[in-house]
């Protein structure tokens, strides 16, 4: 059936070298992206197993599946794995690593060996966390609040803190690599205003990685020093303030959520432009809104601390600042919908994920505004309302964006198409499963069910059962792509260079690309998203 040359017969980055060493010692950004893909996916499913255990416990009001202490370890493990080992690296380290050099017309990232080091740091940190999970885990929550974590929790806190510290450097080096690459290695003619919005998004993300991650790094160092050497920076017995830990922790961890969402927003711009066959509406606004989100993201961290005992005047300031973040995000959503208006919209799998993203991220984002409002926050903080809010943006936003991008660029990465029917089905199953899991949680939180509790009043059971049912369906929605994407590596339809007839430098090279990305050095003399020029060419698969 394939009329194109079988990918295995041409030399590309996948078959250029063989053997384990050529993968484990590679400096090719594309191979490193695949190394990340395997490891990040592995951690995603570990985090997922923890989620299922949590939801199983919550099927019944009584704490009957696990003990309270174990439950604490379950939600801590889920949070630590998902936040640090899945959400932060998933788009930048996989799709970013693969696409950033190609999209700007470069042969590799600025520092290929540091890129490989980033992956090894991730793996070392990951192995430490696995070790912690297998030997009892921590019960502090992924937030490690003091003085519990420094004075009372299990000694595993030290190993976990060190693991997250090491992982932080993986992130810092990736961000540093991206910023330098984007500044210094753009092909001739690739001006900032011609850069794809995925690049703008990764650039903004990298700013956050470089500026924010070091603060959580030092915070964890201080935590470990306090635990091991009793150097009491956060110790109330020495007059230490537990809120200092929270300030330092959230100074990173709030911008971190923008590290998670910005790259997915970048993917959205690529998908929506392609499947509306139209240039993104308001290109400059979308590009600059990414940078605005990155900067504004650093001004709002204490909105996680409204009820912790901070000064009410500071709370007012942070609440006020938090509202501003909604503006650039809303600008993006409006620009995406304006792009679709009078475009030629089609509904391939990536576009289904894009639609899902727009709806779910909007709900997640709006509920963030509710939480920014001090009066409402007093009522719903530390309840399932917050849990629902961040899962809407993290799962409905980040994960949907990632899956949309993964399907979109799958032919470029592997030279194979995924099965379109199954793709659409999985997207639909995921969407239904997601909403069934998390929408009831908004209600649960509003009526008062606290988060991180393993038992609850019987009147909350129906909503919890719905949520657990949804989680099971969502799990199926994730297992589908795991299976059919792997299947497609051998049996999928062979892809052409540009199966979507999409704009962008990555579609001008072969699928998969050669090791140095292009057969001829690219020169850019066209604007981004030049779909008006691509309109007449029939789409070949």
């Amino acid at each position: 059936m394939a009329t194109a040359v079988m990918p295995e017969q041409r030399t590309n980055y996948l078959n250029a070298e063989h053997g384990v060493k050529s993968w484990l010692l590679t400096t090719d950004h594309k191979r490193i992206a695949l190394l990340y893909m395997v490891s990040v996916t592995f951690f995603f499913f570990i985090g997922g197993v923890y989620a299922l255990l949590i939801r199983l416990e919550l099927l019944t009001p009584a704490g009957d599946l696990v003990q309270a202490d174990t439950y604490n370890r379950l939600f801590s493990g889920h949070g630590i794995v998902m936040v640090f080992f899945f959400l932060i690296p998933v788009v930048p380290a996989i799709l970013g690593n693969f696409l950033v050099p190609i999209m700007i017309g470069a042969k590799d990232l600025a520092f290929p060996r540091i890129n490989l080091l980033s992956w090894y740091l991730y793996i070392i940190a990951g192995m430490m966390v696995i070790h912690v999970l297998l030997t009892g885990g921590v019960d502090t929550g992924w937030t490690f609040y003091t003085p519990y974590s420094t004075a009372f929790a299990s000694p595993k806190v030290v190993e976990t803190g060190l693991a997250v510290f090491i992982n932080g450097f993986s992130s810092i080096f990736t961000g540093l690599n991206f910023i330098v690459t984007i500044h210094r290695m753009r092909a001739p003619g690739m001006t900032w205003s011609r850069l794809p919005l995925f690049i703008w998004a990764n650039y903004a993300t990298s700013l956050i990685m470089v500026l924010g991650t070091p603060v959580i790094a030092i915070t964890l160092v201080l935590l470990v020093l306090e635990r091991v050497f009793h150097l009491g920076i956060f110790d109330p017995k020495l007059g230490g303030d537990p809120l200092l830990f929270q300030h330092l922790f959230w100074f990173y961890s709030h911008p971190a959520v923008y590290i998670m969402i910005l790259p997915s927003m970048g993917i959205m711009s690529e998908l929506i432009a392609c499947f509306s066959r139209k240039r993104i509406f308001g290109f400059q606004f979308v590009a600059l809104s990414s940078v605005a989100i990155a900067v504004l993201g650093f001004l709002v961290w204490a909105h996680h601390m409204f009820v912790a005992g901070m000064s009410v005047y500071a709370a007012l300031i942070f609440s006020f600042l938090t509202f501003f973040i909604g503006v650039p995000s809303a600008i993006k959503v409006f620009n995406w919908t304006a792009t679709m208006y009078k475009g030629s919209v089609t509904y391939e799998t990536p576009m289904l994920y894009a639609f899902g993203f727009i709806g779910l991220f909007t709900i997640g984002g709006l509920t963030g505004l509710f939480l920014a409002t001090l009066g409402i926050d007093i009522h719903v903080t530390d309840t399932y309302f917050v849990v629902a809010h961040f899962h809407y943006v993290m799962v409905g936003g980040v994960v949907m964006g990632y899956l949309g991008g993964l399907h979109f660029w799958w032919p470029k990465i592997t030279g194979r198409m995924y099965p379109e029917g199954l793709g659409k089905l999985a997207a639909l199953i995921g969407f239904i499963g997601f909403n069934l899991t998390f929408f009831p949680q908004f209600i649960l939180g509003y009526v008062g069910m606290p988060r991180r509790y393993y038992q609850y009043p019987p009147e909350f059971q129906m909503l919890n059962v719905l949520s657990t049912a949804g989680a099971t369906i969502l799990g199926v929605g994730y297992l589908f792509p795991l299976v059919y994407l792997i299947w497609s590596l051998k049996y999928g339809e062979v892809a052409s260079d540009n199966p979507w007839n999409a704009a962008g430098l990555e579609w001008k090279t072969t699928s998969p690309p050669p090791t140095f990305n292009f057969h001829e050095d690219p020169v850019v003399d066209f604007e981004a998203y030049n779909y008006d020029e691509l309109k007449e060419i029939p789409r070949e698969r």
Binding site: L211, F251, A302, S311, Y313, F318
Partner: protein, 98 residues
Amino acid sequence: MSENEHHIVPVKLYMLIGGTLLFFTWVTYAVSKIDLGPLNTVVALCIATFKATLVVLIFMHVKYTSEKLTKAVIFSAIFFLGLLLTLSLADFGTRNWL
């Protein structure tokens, strides 16, 4: 940093800066022995900033680079550190109000 490769800073300037840095270290030490109340800290930090500026501009060649990006990078480091310190202070400094 393209200009750095070609701009050679004269030895005399390095020595002048080095001498200035040492002199102002002595000044810092000497002023600390005089009671200026809260101004002691201000003076000490101003001198420190002056010294740091000399190191950054001359020893780290920032004065001689045509790269605006370097200056933007330095500015953002100072700015974001400032955010951390100022907004944290907004909490700790106002706890006792009301």
